[in-house]
Subunit: 328 residues, 2 copies
């Protein structure tokens, strides 16, 4: 493959060339290629430019993340914002995982130059969230987007990861299964800056909203002794019916309210700093892991060591130590 | 803290002392302690002993994993099996995350000497599944359990991880949200050896079962060209109402059927070998990551480097490289 012209791609992406942007993201996703060069040149090109506001959207499969994302894009476009979507979600229509007609809802956006949509594979990386997400966010800065929306699926680690990366984290629920109590059990309330009860025209929506508000009150009382970072912020609980765009303006308003709070409270600066620290650490760890993986892959020692562990002659720690020693 | 008497604990655990077993698991979970010593001594003590059969149970929050787990324990106990449960699930009553009355259903098992229950935190580790899970499984071999049941929550990475670690992976669904199509979208069908439609007395159960069977047929046709490891195995779709123990014998029978297939097809040996390879790699990576984390934590260089990245003077890759260089 020919050596990519990173400088040319960066310049083109700055001029709004979506193909150049997509190519740069592919380059930065592949740590074995010129990811470092792309990252460095993108950082230099952006300099002190306005960073996009990062909104995370998460929730269990079936709660309507893709529909809500599409409706939010429409809302922000009407406001004149340029919007990028990063879908780290195997079930998202953006990532080609759609088995239903979700994709149809996106087609209007797909031909809009003010919207950039990109999917990322979440699997096969350490951590639920695709490892190079911070670098991809950085490349997206080249595109001059006002808002980057990161859509993730899952319950657990992925939410924690996205919350660490987003300015505002929106957690979607639906009445019935995956309701308030389940959300609390799964730790979703801890990461939510905005809570959306989607499919609010369904039976049980009132109960879900009531449960959530009650649990937020309890959580607030629990953290009033200063044990939580989020003291001072109480998530809005918004009802929505995203399929008919009902409540979407309210969701956007709740995001804006949280954004204002981040600004006035100083929490926004703190989050952005923590995010950069986490990014550097992740890249450093990725470098170590990549090195180790290269050394380990296909090593005949590994097959032999595995045999010894299987037969009980060796334990995994000793095997790992021998493996690292053998691969230098 | 005093130096633990690992030899004594290993001997006691072999004699059925649950407290000794619990203590060893705590030691093996903490990589900064004598995890390597515990792992080595547990491996030596077990030698060529019969390994417990590992069953993974997974599904979205609210589908009834804990109830099904409790019912399966009762079923296996009636059969005379000793059973260990490893709950890697923040929403599990086993891990103390229960907000409802789930815990009540477990109390009968909690006082049964043939049942060992252990929770593990899934968070804060690289990867969805708690990193030392393979080591914990190895320590559990000391307890002479016939079956180890690993309960995980989540959609995505965690399922993939548990599937890599279990002999049989049971995926739970419920009618309505989280139904067949959503499961397929989330990649759950790919990892399922047994599919359970729980809450099968609810509206929509027939449709969910039908959807699943149809999708399995499609998947089977797709993989008939040999692109899948699982060629030759077609997951059972079992209906259950775990709250009243309905269908639980059928779930256990489906697990047995898969277990037989693993034996006759040779797939079981292949899976166990792949699991040991993955375990050694994970430990090796963990050693590298632990080393890097120690070097990185509290490094004043990190704060300074983060400032440079924030202002756009430096990119994350260069910062990471400098950090690794500085920390030796």
């Amino acid at each position: 493959m020919s050596v990519p012209d990173v400088d040319g791609l960066v310049a083109a992406a700055r001029d709004g060339d979506a193909r150049a942007l997509a190519r740069l993201i592919s380059l930065v996703e592949d740590v074995d290629s010129c990811a470092a060069e792309v990252s460095a040149k993108a950082a230099r090109a952006c300099g002190g430019a306005q960073k996009p506001y990062v909104v995370g959207i998460t929730g269990a499969p079936g709660v309507g993340k893709s529909t809500t994302t599409a409706a939010l894009i429409a809302h922000w476009r009407a406001r004149g914002e340029r919007v990028a979507v990063l879908a780290v979600d195997p079930s998202s229509p953006f990532t080609g995982g759609a088995l239903l007609g979700d994709r149809v809802r996106m087609q209007a956006h797909a031909t809009d130059g003010g919207v950039f949509i990109r999917s990322m594979a979440a699997r096969g990386h350490l951590g639920g969230l695709a490892a190079p997400t911070p670098q991809v966010l950085r490349v997206l800065e080249l595109g001059g987007f006002g808002i980057v929306l990161v859509e993730t699926v899952g319950v657990g680690q992925v939410e924690i990861d996205i919350a660490a990366m987003a300015d505002t984290t929106v957690v979607l629920l639906a009445p019935g299964m995956g309701d308030g109590v389940q959300a609390a059990k799964a730790g979703l309330l801890e990461v939510a800056d905005v809570l959306v009860v989607n499919k609010a025209d369904r039976v049980g929506a009132d109960e879900t909203v009531r449960d959530l508000k009650r649990m937020l009150t309890t959580a607030q009382e629990t953290t009033a002794d200063g044990t939580s970072d989020a003291v001072g912020w109480r998530p809005d609980v918004v009802r929505a019916v995203a399929t008919s765009e009902g409540g979407v303006a309210e969701v956007a308003a709740a995001i804006d309210r949280h954004r204002d709070w981040l600004g006035t409270s100083g929490e926004g600066v703190r989050r952005r700093h923590a995010r950069v620290v986490a990014e550097i650490r992740a890249v450093a760890l990725g470098m170590l892991v990549a090195r180790a993986n290269l050394q380990v892959d296909g090593a005949p020692e590994l097959v032999e060591l595995a045999g010894l562990v299987e037969s009980g002659e060796l334990d995994a720690f000793s095997a790992a130590r021998q493996l690292l020693a053998a691969s230098g």
